[in-house]
Amino acid sequence: MKFRVDFSTATPIAVLIISLIFSILVPSIAFAGDEEQGKAIAFDRKKGNCLACHAIEGGSLPGNIGPPLENMKNRYPDKAKLRDQIFDATKRNPNSIMPPFGKHEILTKDELDKVVEFIYTL
């Protein structure tokens, strides 16, 4: 019985705490730019994992299979070309080791767009 009483008082407190946390976090998630989110997706080992092969500013212990990602706006005046490379690298280099993030649905369309926005800031 005592357990039940404790539980019923604990629940409103928990709800209060959780809603407090959310009121702090949610706006920051909602307002964070696509670029910020793109960076998180690019660095996430289970998503882009771009650091496995590319040095990217702000990322630690990068691999060196691919070139460092930098100076992107100059190298890709046409953003669509950059997107194509990330969507399916084998189009430009049939033997590319780089995973076809769009073609093989490793990233969703939304995730891929955000990654492109982030990479374009480099």
Partner: protein, 277 residues
Amino acid sequence: MRNFTAYIVITGILCGFAFGAQASPESDRKAFVEYYKKKFPKVKKSEYVNGVYAIDAASRAQWESIEEFPPYEIFIDEGETLFKKKFKNGKSLASCFPDYKKGIAQTYPQWDSKRKMVVTLPLAINECLKKNGEEEFEYNKGKIASVLAYLGFLSRGKTISVKVPNKDARAAYEDGKKFYYTRRGQLNMACAHCHLDNAGKRIRADILSPALGHTSHFPVYRAKWQELGTLHRRFGGCNKQVRAKPFKPQSEEYRNLEYFLTYMSNGLKSNAPGMRK
């Protein structure tokens, strides 16, 4: 030539025109050796049995200090006990491999002309158990790995010498070779992408080892596993890394893959069991 896959394809086409056939296993092997010689001109051929430690001085020092008190030693002893243990019928694994003292691991995998299939050493061990009414071992780790460690140890310093004796064997070899160059999994990579094209490069913090010598030291004690594992366990791990469904250990796919990959190391010296990160 920077791109090995292109090289193999071109050699294949040229040979096809010249002789109306594919490049022979022996010319494949020579191309392998030449490729790495160009890529790592300072590395001696005999060093390739040491995997990534052949090409990276920094991790080599640490590895050498671990090798002074190798964590696989107790498994060699356990393997010897298992190998000599009497079956219920009075025989033992040793009875199935009468030449074992001379070192036999370096001659596997072998082509079985009657059954038209590649026979690996672990497969032969389990077939021996079955024939004698004993329970078979699990393939990835445990008892089989210990027995392989013992037999591998007896083969240390012996020259790897895998044979492709006839047309059927050749077909199995070609099948394994095709596997090596075929993209797999959601990440769409072939073995060759990592261990040929990009050997020596870093994938995140890991340096990719050359494929030459890849089979010489199995079973291997991996720090990550905290135990011994077999070659097919490693194949499975590398398949999973690219989000491909691994094949079963001792499946036809992995036996043929082992056949091709071990042939590439012909002429190198066996150094099993090994120790890796």
